[in-house]
Symmetry: C2
Subunit: 309 residues, 2 copies
Amino acid sequence: MPKTTLPSAALLACCALAAMPALAQDGAATPYRSMGEILEDSAASDWRRPDPADTLYLELDSGRVVIELAPDFAPRHVANIRTLAREGYWDGMSINRSQDNFVVQWGDPDGESDHPKPLGSADAKLPAEFDRPGKGLDFHALPDPDGWAAQTGFAEGFPAARDPDEGRAWLAHCYGMVGAGRAMEADSSNGSELYVVTGQSPRQLDRNITVVGRVIEGIELLSVLPRGTGPLGFYEEAGQRVPIRAIHLASEVPEAERSAIEVLRSDTPLFDELVEARRNRRDGWYKRPAGHIDLCNIPLPSRKVEGSP
Amino acid sequence: MPKTTLPSAALLACCALAAMPALAQDGAATPYRSMGEILEDSAASDWRRPDPADTLYLELDSGRVVIELAPDFAPRHVANIRTLAREGYWDGMSINRSQDNFVVQWGDPDGESDHPKPLGSADAKLPAEFDRPGKGLDFHALPDPDGWAAQTGFAEGFPAARDPDEGRAWLAHCYGMVGAGRAMEADSSNGSELYVVTGQSPRQLDRNITVVGRVIEGIELLSVLPRGTGPLGFYEEAGQRVPIRAIHLASEVPEAERSAIEVLRSDTPLFDELVEARRNRRDGWYKRPAGHIDLCNIPLPSRKVEGSP
């Protein structure tokens, strides 16, 4: 009789019940732990709580999407986004685009008309922030080769890449990353129009557009949105757009209404073990561990702070 | 005033109006054509029409998903799937799982109970078909490095990989690829339980599970399905499952009711030009062409056959 069979990539990641012994490179038997086991055994210090001043709440009818901003990569854009959120720029606006295997995007649907919504005290024009100096950045590099960049890894908790020869670093377009839409000119974004990656990592956008952060909770509220049938996945009718109740900074929301979320630190031995567990799956389901991991295949788990509502 | 700004990865791919001159490596000016322009200029011979005997129609309330099967990679599974479809095995069944950034999966929700749906004349047990000999396969290789495999490219119109040293080739887990779910044993799949990749390419599954084909139309009907809240994205309530009206072979459907779809050939000079246009975007929007493309970032366009309903 057929059993309900599963592509169990995640099954054993999250639910394996027993550690499997595996041979380490030096030949000694070391215990193999799945991702679920590693997380279960994590210490409080393996987690970090994003700064409420760098946390955006995108409030939809379906729930809250939580975005962590990346001021160390895009300081001017993040400052502008804070201003826009503080002044309620997006409140009552809409998600206007959902393109399959690419992005969801929101902003002023009348932005190109002759009556765009005023930006308030936010700057209309900002410099492009496509990359930054590699110096001064705590970059936790992966040993795995990458076709798009000289080196990939994590910085400030975000998937990132860098080129040591050029001395530059930048955020990588992985699933859930948030960027600032722009027109043809490099400096034509100001953070009022934002998109989230909801498909195969479009790394060709790296260093071509300003990335401002990452969705740390609620991405599934965006990834399921009906695909727009217009060019680029824009909704063709105003009625198809998805209402945005509000976008606020967590720091501006009463504490009792905040989402108490922690994100796994990406600069710890525990995180290295997790990456290795994904690089070489040694549980019983996998017959051939890949021996490789792509930056954008590494999960960055988040969790509710214990004792929070 | 702010314009509606776009992350225009696809904008210029599909809608650029003018060719931009670009310098070829030999220094001579050669015309650059975007993907849209290349497709517009394609000849009939650049397209192929999948064999109706290798084409599955997954009929949902929301529309039809078209899947091309890959008998040259998984002959036994594809034969079994043909039998299951012919005998209406999936008709009235359901999609039972939608895990964000991973897969959508369907099959018998009672498969693990003591009253699973009988498989009819299909085989309950099949050998694993994780890979195949590289010999005898027309493999159109990409020059781009890949961390997961010695070489990637296209074979029989599918994204694939191979290891010349081992002499093996296999289908790659890109967005839209369809595989046969299995339990712990390598040979525990029979094609009755199928999944579709709807997230970042889970290439760690390559050579660990039998891949049977690719969605060539209608993937957006699957990728928007509400994510299941149970473990692995399974729907927790029977009422949340997504009904499957039927899964039939195109060859068993009256000709007037078939979807007349062509897929771009992946073994032509035109396809090579398209890949290069994605590897190095030379339109005005991109400030820094990537100089690289990942196998799973290469689109495999399909289109309605002209004159078809």
